[in-house]
């Protein structure tokens, strides 16, 4: 792997851990690297079958990352099966990319971190940048040899927050970032009545939360992450976060907030950021939870 290619532009942006990002060029040069597995995760389930980076496998947020019965993530055994199916060993570097400025790629990345797969990176710019550069896509499904993967037990304590922890968090007046749209934050928008999965009974936000829509961390033209100075301007200048803060991010089901978790943790070097994946669909439906509305 060429560090020059990997870090040329990314290193200049001032990130705390620039090595967590790779460029589209780096991916293009590592398509056949047996130690690298490219993983596509999208919101739009039609994108991967319509064409993907050659050799890339799909990790589907709905099918692959969730327990099929309980509202929870997959367990160790299911994670091991997933990794075996996509041909990943504990030493494989997994590079995530996807649509919507890597929103879902960061979600998959976050779930992988629950199992401690630290050989993980995100392709800066995601699918949008790859396509804009007119790099090759294929509809051919990759055939990777099945591997044997021994996962650690899922560790929720470090980067995942649960409802009662959020309650304690707000009672201690610690920092919360609500990464939903301003309309969701104010309670103006809750959900569509017909929507089967993510409906919510109450609108508003968790008391004390500051609203920073997740997409502000990305450049809309090519999906790349903004540089560290711009990110600090948003998260520190505008809403007063600091690298040493104990921070919980949330959205509606924990996917958009995983993007913000990624930005704060890896790009700005914050040490104590957790993602509350129960998010508003749990908080806004639970009995007796405190809610703030303007």
């Amino acid at each position: 792997m060429s560090d020059t290619v990997q870090f040329a532009d990314i290193a200049a942006r001032g990130y705390a851990q620039p090595e967590v990002l790779v460029s589209t060029e780096w991916v293009a040069q590592n398509l056949t690297n047996p130690n690298v597995r490219i993983v596509e995760s999208n919101e739009d389930s039609l994108l991967y079958p319509s064409g993907h980076i050659p050799g890339a496998v799909q990790v589907d947020w709905a099918l692959d990352l969730n327990d099929p019965i309980r509202r929870d993530y997959l367990d160790r055994a299911a994670f091991e099966q997933l990794m075996a199916r996509i041909g990943v060993t504990r030493d494989t570097t997994v590079v995530f990319y996807g649509d919507k400025s890597n929103w879902w790629a960061c979600y998959a990345f976050w779930v992988f971190q629950l199992f401690g797969h630290t050989h993980a990176k995100v392709m800066d710019g995601g699918r949008l940048k790859w396509e804009k550069e007119k790099r090759s896509l294929t509809r051919e499904m990759p055939k990777h040899a099945i591997t044997s993967y021994g996962a650690a037990e899922r560790d929720d304590a470090r980067i995942r927050a649960f409802r009662d922890e959020v309650l304690s968090h707000i009672r201690a007046h610690k920092k919360l970032v609500d990464v939903r749209s301003p309309q969701e934050f104010t309670g103006e928008r809750t959900h569509m009545p017909e929507y089967p999965q993510e409906g919510v009974l109450r609108g508003g936000h968790i008391p004390g939360a500051r609203n920073v829509p997740w997409a502000r961390a990305a450049n809309p033209d090519d999906g790349t992450f903004k540089d560290a100075a711009a990110l600090r301007g948003i998260y520190e200048g505008e809403v007063g976060l600091a690298p040493g803060d104990d921070i919980i991010a949330y959205c509606r089901i924990g996917e958009r907030s995983s993007h913000t978790w990624f930005v704060l943790t890896y790009l700005l070097g914050y040490r104590n950021v957790r993602n509350y994946d129960g998010s508003w669909t749990e908080w806004g439906n639970a009995v007796g939870m405190p809610i703030e509305r303007p």
Partner: protein, 154 residues
Amino acid sequence: MSEGVEALPAALASVVGEFESVDRGLRAEMLIEYADQFQEVPADVATRPWPESARAPRCESDAYVFATDQPDGRLKLWFAVENPQGLSAKAWAVLLDETLSGQPLEQVARVPHDVVFKIFGRDLSMGKGQGLLGMLEVVQHEARRRLERARRSD
């Protein structure tokens, strides 16, 4: 055929029937085929910048919906989708045109919103579902607007 399908415009009922029995993989293939047929609204109907009044609410793929009148007073639908990766929006645009253009306005106005989930599947993300519903809402708004105009002129 599931409950409520018989009340749909015939072409839409037929499409819903086709999607009801397919698995996830085949559903995706079928939708991609529809998306591949997408053609942007022609310049003699609308040009950029698209008017905000045509924007589908909540659609993250920036879909725009246009309607012109056919000689019989029914709608001809046209679409623009600004997000080049908005495959679902493009597929839905093609399906809406194929199944609702030329159909009785009353039927278009009454299409139940759950057809989105019958065609795209129940595991559609909320953001995607909202955007696709937003496209249908604009189509139905255009149908209702014409029905109201016809009532006033009676």
